[in-house]
């Protein structure tokens, strides 16, 4: 069994890295977004092989919507809608290369030098239950504050895009009125 798990881990690990690399090799915004999603899906699959089914599947579930929204917003705001002119996804090559190499070295050093705790979970633990206890137990204050803040942001966003906008109905245009001096 562990042979299969090891094999799957390496398959997904390689897939995550390769698709992550492809994000920067494509010249289409939609493809870039979905390569990134493929990378996250591979990471989610790794989590599933590590017996964290819930976390892995939730990651996959969340990424579909997020990456689609990202792709649409990029298409909407970029001057070059269909990616007809090859648009490189990489800018400031020197800075990017230095930052990338630096981050890699730093992480590799952490990986090699850090003294990782070795606490194998007893068999029979349910990671979903542990997660629930953690979220609503010791870390409740942190998660609830973050959760309420995010909820407020979401309600605010919906209020901003709702039909009854501040400057008129959304489907008629909510442009800010031009200030004019009245006589």
């Amino acid at each position: 069994m562990s042979g299969i798990v090891d094999f799957l881990f390496w398959v997904f690990a390689v897939a995550a890295v390769v698709t992550g690399w492809l994000v920067f090799r494509t010249d289409s915004m939609v493809r870039a977004a979905y390569w990134l999603m493929a990378s996250f899906v591979a990471v989610g699959a790794i989590l599933v092989t590590l017996d964290a089914q819930f976390l892995g599947l939730i990651l996959i579930l969340m990424m579909a919507g997020e990456m689609t929204i990202m792709a649409i917003f990029m298409v909407m705001y970029m001057m070059n809608p269909a990616g007809l002119n090859p648009m490189t996804m990489v800018h400031q090559h020197r800075t990017a290369a230095v930052a990338g190499a630096g981050a890699f070295v730093a992480l590799a050093l952490v990986g090699l030098l850090a003294d990782f705790p070795d606490r194998p979970a007893p068999s029979g633990t349910d990671p979903t239950v542990d997660l629930g206890v953690e979220l609503l137990g010791e870390s409740m204050l942190v998660f609830e504050s973050a959760g309420v803040a995010l909820l407020a942001v979401m309600i605010g966003a919906i209020a901003l895009v709702s039909k009854r906008g501040r400057y008129g109905d959304a489907d008629e245009g909510s442009e800010e009125p031009i200030l004019e001096k009245t006589e």
Binding site: V30, R31, Q53, L57, L61, A64, G65, T68, A82
Partner: protein, 305 residues
């Protein structure tokens, strides 16, 4: 269950159910259009499939060819994955995962990606508009969908579909959570972009994301779309109607009866309910279904406690 058997089982089940959905669709269509005599409906899907297979693929100007080829296969694969999460009879689970209901949800949410790619890749106006519609539609229905699906896990105190079914031994979830099934079916129609919520592939876009597709690719796309509907109905039967539970008949037969009962309701509604405007559909998701789904969660949660 060995992987080879599992793949074969899911494949055969999907093909048979998709064929039956096509037959049902034909019969309901004939009925509503006032034609009597449905004998023809049984062979018609086969002939249609043969016709599509005889057709060559169409080519647009500079499509995203890989994504275009991938999208139908991805959609069909997602239908199959979603189906693996559902126990077909007592103890017969293709994928015995603890978080089965999350696996199902993850597969369905990815449908949005398959449809978006399908429309985007054709590099043509109406398919792209269909792709945008799918994003808006799927985002509007996904939260109420997830909420009502996860609510069925509350009485079971587990995310496993098997345990969700056995928790309905005394009382089906359709009674315990009366808001659940209607919201689930409406949002499920949205995810499988089936009539009346077929906005991404609607006729006012001349077929939307499939407007530029022909031949085998179109056949695969239609089969894949129906397979999502089958998965939605099967999970509806499992999560709300007690799945394989029932007296007298064998479990798998109960499961089949309930699944096809739901499929009949879904397909029937496509011929009887008008397709809403995009704005109406989005509004329905955010202002009606989402609050109702929240009520469903709170009430069910309080009852469970």
């Amino acid at each position: 269950m060995s992987p080879a058997w599992a793949v074969a089982l899911v494949g055969v089940l999907l093909m048979v159910s998709v064929y039956l959905v096509a037959v049902m669709e034909t019969i309901f269509g004939l009925r509503v259009s006032g034609v009597r005599g449905y004998g023809r409906a049984w062979a018609l899907p086969m002939s249609r499939a043969a016709l599509l297979l005889s057709q060559r693929r169409s080519v647009t100007e500079r499509p995203d060819a890989q994504a275009w080829a991938l999208a139908p296969a991805l959609l069909g694969g997602l239908g199959a994955v979603a189906l693996t999460a559902i126990p077909l009879a007592a103890g017969v689970e293709v994928a015995d995962v603890d978080a089965g209901i999350v696996l199902f949800g993850a597969a369905l949410v990815q449908v949005m990606v398959a449809v978006f790619l399908h429309g985007w890749a054709a590099n043509s106006l109406f398919p792209v508009l269909g792709a945008f519609r799918m994003a808006a539609l799927a985002l509007s229905v996904s939260i109420p969908f997830s909420l009502v699906v996860i609510t069925t896990a509350l009485p079971a105190e587990s995310l496993s579909v098997g345990l969700i079914i056995s928790s309905q031994e005394s009382l089906w979830n359709v009674v315990r959570q009366p808001l659940g099934l209607p919201i689930y079916l409406i949002t499920g129609l949205g995810f499988s972009f089936w009539a009346p919520l077929q906005l991404p592939d609607a006729r006012d876009l001349s077929g939307g994301t499939s407007a530029e597709v022909s031949g085998a690719a179109l056949l695969v796309w239609r089969v894949a779309r129906a397979s999502i509907l089958v998965a939605v109905a099967a999970m509806g039967a499992a999560a709300f109607l007690g799945g394989y539970l029932g007296p007298w008949l064998p479990g798998w037969l109960w499961m089949a009866v309930k699944t096809f009962g739901l499929l009949a309701i879904l397909v029937w509604s496509g011929h009887r309910i008008a397709r809403p405007r995009m704005e109406t559909a989005v509004k329905l998701g955010w202002t009606v279904l989402l609050p109702l789904a929240l009520v469903d969660v709170f009430v069910s949660g309080a009852l469970t406690l």
